[in-house]
């Protein structure tokens, strides 16, 4: 295995009441790359991330992050990762700044460090001028940006972004994309899930396409699309149809 591999996912499995939500998933992520998990709703993307982020016990297989097993060494893993969950995980009654400072301090930052990091991250997502406003008053897109900014508080080496653009206005979406590209340029390794081909295409160096708990293809966006003709018009729907012979069950 190349020494640049920062993340190794090996035959990862998760059963919920006998149903395999993740069924033998394997892939590697290189240091500093944005790796995409692309798949329809219910494919098992979030479940994969939650196991990788140590919040969900694994049924089988293992994940090695920076040399530490999520299974045997979750505490070490937690120091390396930041999670921007699919759902907003924020305190709506508090200001954006209070949210960031709180989560930062929980990760061990001093008050001064947390304040500084919070302002820097709010700047990064374009919300510095709204730092002291209550998150409850924010638009959906702004809340998503706060959700992302919180994940950056511990300067993670590996960042999980689980559908960070769902229900987001174009302005916020652009802020989020800029932020992600900025982080990549600084060397952060990123796992990005989405069910939009064009997002994966813009951001990700490589993509694993998931369906029903399995990886059904793993390649660069270009290679995945070029099988189907005009790369500018190809969607996940097309790729999915090509790979499975089925339409998306849930194109929601």
């Amino acid at each position: 295995m190349p020494e640049t591999d920062f993340v190794l996912v090996q035959d990862l499995r998760k059963a919920f009441n006998g149903h395999m939500a993740v069924d033998g998933v394997s892939f590697n992520i290189e240091k500093g790359e944005i790796f995409g998990l692309l798949g329809p709703n219910g494919a098992g993307k979030t479940t994969t991330i939650r196991m990788m982020a140590t919040t969900l016990p694994i049924t089988g297989g293992d994940v090695i992050i920076g040399g530490h097993s999520v299974h045997r060494n979750p505490a070490e893993v937690r120091h390396l990762i930041g999670v921007c969950p699919q759902e907003l995980a924020l305190y709506l009654e508090l200001s954006a700044l209070d949210n960031l400072v709180f989560f930062g301090r929980m990760e061990g930052l001093s008050k001064a460090e947390a304040l500084e990091a919070a302002m820097r991250n709010l700047e990064l997502v374009g919300l510095a001028d709204r730092a002291k406003h209550r998150v409850a008053k924010f638009s959906g897109g702004m809340k998503r940006r706060v959700n992302l900014a919180i994940a950056l508080m511990n300067k993670p080496e590996l960042l999980f972004l689980d559908e960070p653009t769902v229900g987001v206005d174009p302005q916020s979406r652009n802020h989020i994309f800029d932020t992600i590209e900025g982080l990549r340029d600084q060397g952060t390794t990123i796992l990005y899930t989405t069910h939009y081909m064009e997002e994966a295409d813009r951001l990700c160096r490589r993509i694993a396409v998931m369906d029903a708990g399995r990886v059904i293809a793993l390649d660069t966006p270009r290679n995945l699309k070029s099988r189907l003709g005009d790369p500018d018009k190809v969607t996940l729907e097309d790729i999915f149809l090509d790979l499975t012979g089925r339409r998306l069950r849930d194109a929601g």
Partner: protein, 395 residues
């Protein structure tokens, strides 16, 4: 050592965050701090003491020789006692011994000089011996003693009036009958804890509403903990370095601090607005309030591990808080409830807190007599916190 420091730091941060959220929640603030006083004001205006026990045995004894005034009074009392109130005569030594052994809650004693004092116009006395814990008995003895005094007074006034009439219409020289008192009156003397003021509604209402409302708001902590599960902030916290025990302890701490603030507001307002009397040992009353807040916080975090959704957590908290309040002596005094119900009520933290408050504030009890209550509240706190940490799951 380092992990202990991390733990405490996280607990502090989590609690601080909760308190900040609480401080921004107008509804919760109103419920915690304003609502209770509306209740206390309303009820202190309408509440009257009406605490007739169902059936009660009261003991009286006299040290007087046969033929004394007390003999007649006791005979009248014993023969007049009926369904609700059973008055029995006993002898002074036996009564004393039974009280010491806590077989009876108290008794009335007519002292050796009773008749002499009354007849000679000295200040007579009926002595009420009682156990500070036996609130109902004490109340009954007090009212019986007052009745006796009122009757004697009426008798004296009638007698004087008749004597006056007789003096003006009868041949001179008869005068009043010897020994008819001119200014005699009989007072009641309380033994064991000396004289204390009769209980007033606010001295019952303020602490029992404190119990009800502090428990109520802290039980609602369950909702905020389950809400963090539903809002994924808990998952975010555990994907960082927070542990289950620091999460539960953080919730418990913020809840406890809220309870302390609420209790402090109750007591300050109680003292300033309602002129509440905290009894002879105010610090014990404070200690009971602190332990109640701790026990209620324990129940609150425990409920969060039982409830599946924040709605069910809220519903459970409301249901438990209201039923425990009624049942645990927050709506009417425990000591007027049947004994079996009083015993059953001990499954609620309310009963222990209210019983301690009532003993201390209404009946002038000493700290030693509320040791069981204090212990029980501490056990509630530790047990429920332990159960909560044990059962708490993030997913």
């Amino acid at each position: 050592m380092k992990s202990m420091r991390t733990f405490l730091r996280q607990v502090g941060l989590l609690a601080g965050k909760d308190l900040k959220v609480f401080a921004r929640d107008r509804g919760a603030l109103l419920f915690a701090f304003v609502f209770p006083f509306v209740f206390v004001v309303m009820f202190s205006m309408v509440m009257v003491w009406n605490s007739e026990p169902e059936h009660m045995v009261v003991y009286v004894a006299t040290e007087e020789e046969d033929g004394g005034l007390s003999r007649h009074i006791i005979d009248a009392m014993v023969s007049g006692s009926g369904e609700g109130l059973d008055i029995r005569e006993t002898d002074p030594d036996k009564a004393r011994a039974s009280l010491v052994k806590e077989e009876i809650g108290g008794y009335l004693l007519f002292p050796r000089e009773f008749s002499d004092d009354v007849i000679s116009g000295e200040q007579g006395a009926i002595v009420v011996y009682f156990d500070p814990d036996a609130a109902t008995t004490r109340a009954a003895l007090m009212s019986i003693a007052q009745t006796v005094i009122a009757e004697l007074e009426a008798y004296r006034i009638t007698y004087e009036a008749v004597a006056e009439l007789a003096a003006t219409s009868a041949p001179t020289g008869t005068g009043g009958p010897a020994g008819v008192p001119g200014t005699a009156a009989v007072s009641i003397v309380y033994e064991e804890v000396g004289k204390i003021d009769p209980p007033r509604p606010v001295d019952f209402l303020v602490p029992s509403y404190l119990t009800m409302f502090v428990f109520f708001s802290l039980a609602m902590t369950a909702e905020t903990l389950v809400a963090e599960k539903e809002d994924f902030t808990l998952e975010r916290l555990v994907s960082g370095t927070a542990t289950r025990s620091s999460l539960v302890a953080g919730k418990l701490t913020s809840s406890f601090v809220r309870g302390l603030i609420q209790a402090a507001v109750f007591w300050v307002a109680g003292l300033l607005i309602f002129n509440v009397r905290m009894g002879h040992y105010a610090w014990t009353v404070v200690l009971v309030s602190v332990l109640l807040a701790l026990a209620a916080s324990g129940v609150g975090v425990f409920l969060a591990t039982v409830a599946k959704t924040r709605r069910s957590a809220g519903a459970m908290a409301v249901l438990i808080s209201l039923s425990f309040a009624a049942f645990g002596g927050s709506w009417w005094p425990l000591f007027i409830m049947p004994v079996w119900l009083q015993n059953l009520a001990r499954i609620t933290p309310h009963a222990w807190a209210n019983s301690a408050f009532n003993k201390l504030m209404l009946f002038g009890a000493s700290p030693a007599s509320v040791v069981p209550e204090i212990t029980a509240l501490a056990v509630f706190a530790v047990a429920f916190f332990g159960l909560a940490v044990w059962r708490f799951k993030v997913n």
